[in-house]
């Protein structure tokens, strides 16, 4: 993949889903052109490329129609270049395990953060934090089983689940700070807390992780377009 413009990625600096794809592209050393989208004023290209959801990230590969949804994009990249840093394991059962936890992370774990942001009443917030604690407990157990004593979900090397969950570390840290909460409390979930520090400092992710200002301004935007109401 020598031609840089062969892969284009529509993303937003603050979006953990866009970061996820960038993390994967960086791990695979695949060159790509990054196009920053302003979600307050979506480009024609974005709306045309993802008419169903009008969301980032969107992958444009050569002259093919667009691919949307970050997990799907990451699997696609892994399938077209399995020779470059394979993310998903080769064994079918291990792949199924990865997909199961990826679904849990995106459908159960991360939505709690959006719920927390939208919930103003104290009792509601406490109930969500309880669910977050339970979710991180599940992820701690998943990590212990998957890592088998090694550094990452993928073992010695960063694997699919490290990418799927790793992209959320900065975002959730930001929400934790706003809510005086610590999801990766070392007392409670030692292994996952260690992993979180490790993955956040991985070069392929660190280079695309948004800074505090970027996150703050993005949160400001979301609070306008999808204000808290509960």
């Amino acid at each position: 993949m020598g031609n840089k413009s062969e892969i284009k990625l529509l993303g937003t600096a603050a979006s953990p889903f866009a970061n996820r794809v960038q993390f994967a592209l960086n791990l695979k050393s695949m060159k790509y052109e990054y196009i920053e989208e302003n979600l307050a004023c979506k480009s024609e290209l974005l709306i045309k490329s993802n008419p169903v959801h009008k969301k980032v990230p969107v992958l444009l590969h050569a002259d093919k129609p667009p691919i949307c949804e970050s997990q799907i994009i990451v699997e696609y990249l892994d399938e077209i270049r399995p020779d470059l840093y394979q993310l998903l394991p080769s064994v079918s059962l291990d792949r199924a395990n990865c997909r199961f936890w990826a679904a849990y992370i995106d459908n159960k774990f991360f939505p709690l953060y959006e719920e927390l942001r939208q919930t103003l009443n104290k009792a509601g917030q406490e109930a969500i934090k309880e669910q977050m604690i339970e979710a991180t407990q599940q992820l701690e157990e998943a990590f212990i089983k998957s890592s088998n004593g090694k550094t990452y979900f993928g073992g010695d090397q960063v694997g699919y689940l490290d990418v799927i969950l790793g992209c959320f570390i900065r975002w959730t840290q930001h929400v934790d700070e706003l809510n005086d909460f610590n999801k990766f409390d070392e007392v409670r979930i030692l292994e996952l807390a260690k992993w979180a520090k490790c993955i956040a400092s991985h070069e392929a992710l660190k280079s695309v992780t948004p800074g505090k200002e970027t996150l703050e301004s993005f949160f400001g935007l979301i609070n306008i377009y999808r204000p808290p109401y509960k």
């Binding site: 169903v52 059962l93 199924a96 199961f100 849990y104």
Partner: protein, 215 residues
């Protein structure tokens, strides 16, 4: 050693049905073990401790949960009739539509029948239009082309359960004039052998939903 395949199942569950369709398409012999979701069995709690739900596939004793994850696993392990396209790009598109059906379509459909919050069909009409357009653009019998694939299987709820709910509730959602391609697709899909063999009896389903709507 012969493969031992078991499925923790539930009659009437669309997600269980999806997995059964995939198993039957591949000609896999399996044992269906119906579950009681009120008094959950030790096996269900052991094999799906995270969600405690069906379906759960047991392949030589190893559990796999989440219907779409199970279907991808089945396609991975057993060759023969493909459930997912081989081409990575086509595969990505199939996964996109399957996810769309689960994340957007089905919740919107439930809303359209008043089964989740206040009854409102606006969202469902919008989402179904995307599927109608997709069939139009493809110009084939199924989302998978000439034969069914992951997308068609993911839409089992739409193909069969929705008709039963329409009859039970008196609310029409997927009409021929609004969604001509989708309506035809429903008929063609339920007539596929693997699907026919996996669907629950329609009368029982209608009776169940009539109960829910108090009719």
């Amino acid at each position: 050693m012969a493969d031992e395949v078991k499925l923790l199942s539930l009659l009437g569950s669309p997600n269980v049905c999806r997995v059964e369709i995939a198993l039957k398409l591949k000609g896999i012999n399996y044992e269906s073990i119906p579950q009681d979701l009120v008094n959950k069995s030790a096996d269900l709690l052991k094999y799906n401790p995270v969600h405690k739900k069906v379906p759960v596939l047991l392949h030589n004793g190893k559990p796999i949960s989440e219907s779409l994850v199970i279907i991808e696993y089945i396609d991975d392990v057993w060759k023969g009739v493909p459930v997912l396209p081989q081409d990575p790009y086509e595969k990505a598109q199939a996964r996109f539509w399957a996810k769309f059906i689960d994340d957007k379509c089905t919740p919107a459909i439930l809303k359209a029948f008043g089964m989740e919050g206040e009854q409102d069909a606006t969202e469902a009409n919008g989402q179904l239009q995307y599927l109608e357009n997709e069939l139009n653009v493809k110009g084939k019998k199924f989302f998978g082309g000439d034969s069914i694939n992951l997308v068609d299987i993911s839409a089992s709820f739409l193909a069969f359960w929705v008709g039963a709910i329409e009859e039970a509730s008196g609310i029409q959602l997927v009409t021929k004039d609004k969604f001509p391609k989708l309506t035809k697709w429903c008929d063609d899909f339920v007539n596929c052998q693997a699907v026919k063999d996996s669907l629950p009896p329609r009368e029982a389903l209608v009776a169940f939903f009539k109960g829910r709507f108090g009719n």
